[in-house]
Symmetry: C2
Subunit: 462 residues, 2 copies
Amino acid sequence: MNSTHVSALAGEFSKIVGSDNVMTSENDRYAYSYDAAVLDSVMPGLVVRPTGSEALGRVVKLCNDNGLPLTVRGAGTNLSGGTIPHLGGVVVLTNGLTCILEINEEDLYAVVEPGVVTATFAQEVARRGLFYPPDPGSQTVSTLGGNVAENAGGLRGLKYGVTKDYVMGMEFWDVGGNLVKSGSRTVKGVTGYNLHGLMVASEGTLGVFDKIILKLIPPPREARSMMAIFTSITAASETVAAIIAAKIVPATLEMMDNFTIRTVDNFRHAGLPTDAAALLLIEVDGHPGQVADEAAQVEAICKQHGARELKVARDAAERNTIWQARRDALPALAKLKPTCVLEDATVPRSKIPAMIEALGEISRKFNLTIGTFGHAGDGNLHPTILTDKRDKEEWGRVEKAVEEIFDRALALGGTLSGEHGIGLAKARFLVKETGRAAFDYSARMKAALDPKNILNPKKMVG
Amino acid sequence: MNSTHVSALAGEFSKIVGSDNVMTSENDRYAYSYDAAVLDSVMPGLVVRPTGSEALGRVVKLCNDNGLPLTVRGAGTNLSGGTIPHLGGVVVLTNGLTCILEINEEDLYAVVEPGVVTATFAQEVARRGLFYPPDPGSQTVSTLGGNVAENAGGLRGLKYGVTKDYVMGMEFWDVGGNLVKSGSRTVKGVTGYNLHGLMVASEGTLGVFDKIILKLIPPPREARSMMAIFTSITAASETVAAIIAAKIVPATLEMMDNFTIRTVDNFRHAGLPTDAAALLLIEVDGHPGQVADEAAQVEAICKQHGARELKVARDAAERNTIWQARRDALPALAKLKPTCVLEDATVPRSKIPAMIEALGEISRKFNLTIGTFGHAGDGNLHPTILTDKRDKEEWGRVEKAVEEIFDRALALGGTLSGEHGIGLAKARFLVKETGRAAFDYSARMKAALDPKNILNPKKMVG
């Protein structure tokens, strides 16, 4: 992409969004050249910030008319390079589109613009006595548009599902600047293709979100959090499978390995059992009777499977201690080394013990430090490799280790990515999992819907 | 489509599926010329019944190589003409593909071939102590492939969602006879486009299903069924909204109007209150404590909103009486007149009172008998027009009434179809709801994925 060509169009974009909302300086463009993935940054030609729906549509059309690559960016928190403007062109920010247009308490849905921050939305919904469950790790800054584009998960995926399960409908701009509607405000709807379902996890490659209709649910009446302490990681991972096999679906069922426990405790000195081989952090919720029953069952199962101790949170402060430990895992690990590679290959949950074993082998084989934590109940672990990308020899081992993590997950019937997306980071591995036919089918679809290949090019099937 | 051309290929199809599985006689072809929709039948050139995955793929490729229209048919229970072979060609039966390939009790999923009958599958899952909630009215004969192609709903949609919410992944044949994989056996997965989501409700127009991965859940521990008797249908419909507003989500929340009550009672003499203006049939389920609490709350809300009486089922027989009445609604109504037009325009549930009023007006305006029952908790009513298609004058009024039902539902923020699909029956109304841009976007996608337009042509965006 010729950057002179892009900047020559700054005036045209200014006419649409106002000159204050077109950024051309090197500093501004640098700020939008990277995201949370460990990948090289790429400078966009310019950065545009529409503050209204119509302007957003006109920006899309102007890009398409001029063949400019267009990368939509919410908060840039994705971990797969989904918002890196790989061919330059225009970065379109959604932080001028932050209206919660409707929260319907009678019909349990909301309509939002794409730039609404996830946690802000969840709080506003909670204030009305309702519940929006998806809670990705970056929720305090991530946007709902970004969550939909990446199909963001989170800690509550096990019981409540992920972002996909809450998208009832959508309006999005096609590349020609036409507003496409799909889905509805009704609980049921089969009118037309499930285009809003297709948009989920499409990483900005098939359309530009204008409005999203999200499902809301009544909140659980009660919740109870527990921390189970294990002297063997195998025992902990077998416990995860045993809880599900007992037909208990906790709201959250997380695991941390010894390395992560020690790192977190060093980070905040929260009094974690640093000698434990693994922790399970568990929350059951629902009707008070159900919570009492399930908590008792979970406790029994943990003990049967060798838990040394089970701590049940007695109040909000103790509950917060448990979940703060989990929230600290990534920031604490990330502080140890200059580069932190957070993977999220995912397996059927009964294969968690085998995956934990595989990660231990990979760590030894490539002589790398891997801290493992994550959504064990979903089979979605986050093995985190601590390294320094500038150390070329070690980085070579990291790349091989990542590929082996993928291979082991696939061999166990799993998937490359549970919730972080494909983006640039995993695009070259996609065919490994889905096969050539799925890739070709997707590429034909993409070419038909974006003939000039301007929508976030090089991502997914790029 | 030249039927000589089609039958000339019978030998080619025989080589793939065996001559016993290729039907060319007029009787056989007639049997697959119609479905459950009130539409004219169209004879296919021939009917093919593959009995294995590889044969299915070769049949698809042979059709595409020869430009033959291909309509996949499960049990033909859909109500929108989705399985009528509108341009002739080949009907491909799935009743030779009926294997439940896996029920995984540890990881809560199943893998099935498309021809598995819904109820058979649900029973097999229940036998393992698990639960597959989607329960379309035709479940004793309908197939899982058909359910996915139409995104079938049912009585449990309110709490448990519809077929779409249970499709974790899929393998399907593209028109070229290549096997496309999407989704996985893991709870979370964002690897590649959500093609399995796109396949849901696509009515056989984008691919031919080979295997489907379905999510299973633990069953509720207890359930309680109730019948609330109202002397005003407005009061009954306001009660529906009030129950949801109280943050109670029953498993099932159904309504029957007076005409339907009388017709059902005449059909089975079950002792229904034939003088009632409306009935609500309600089931709450879950943990025993939750069931007790919610049942008490539902009872209180019904009484506050003027229910004359509330009958709570005390045993399995009484529970069955309630649900048999609901199951009888359609067959009882259908017996009254030669033609029974079952609509399923859907509105946000708080708009149920307004929709009930609109249906009354439409019935009077066009002087038609309309029995109304359905999934009130989903906003998904089934106004059923009783008529005789041979009476051209009355049929003209029916067509106008149907169009007005659509218009009123859309004006209330609703949708053309909650669960019955677009097929042939509603294809010409599609643009009314989604707009031209969504239609064009869909048509571009369809053209790219099925360049010769052989997959169930004329359906959806046809």
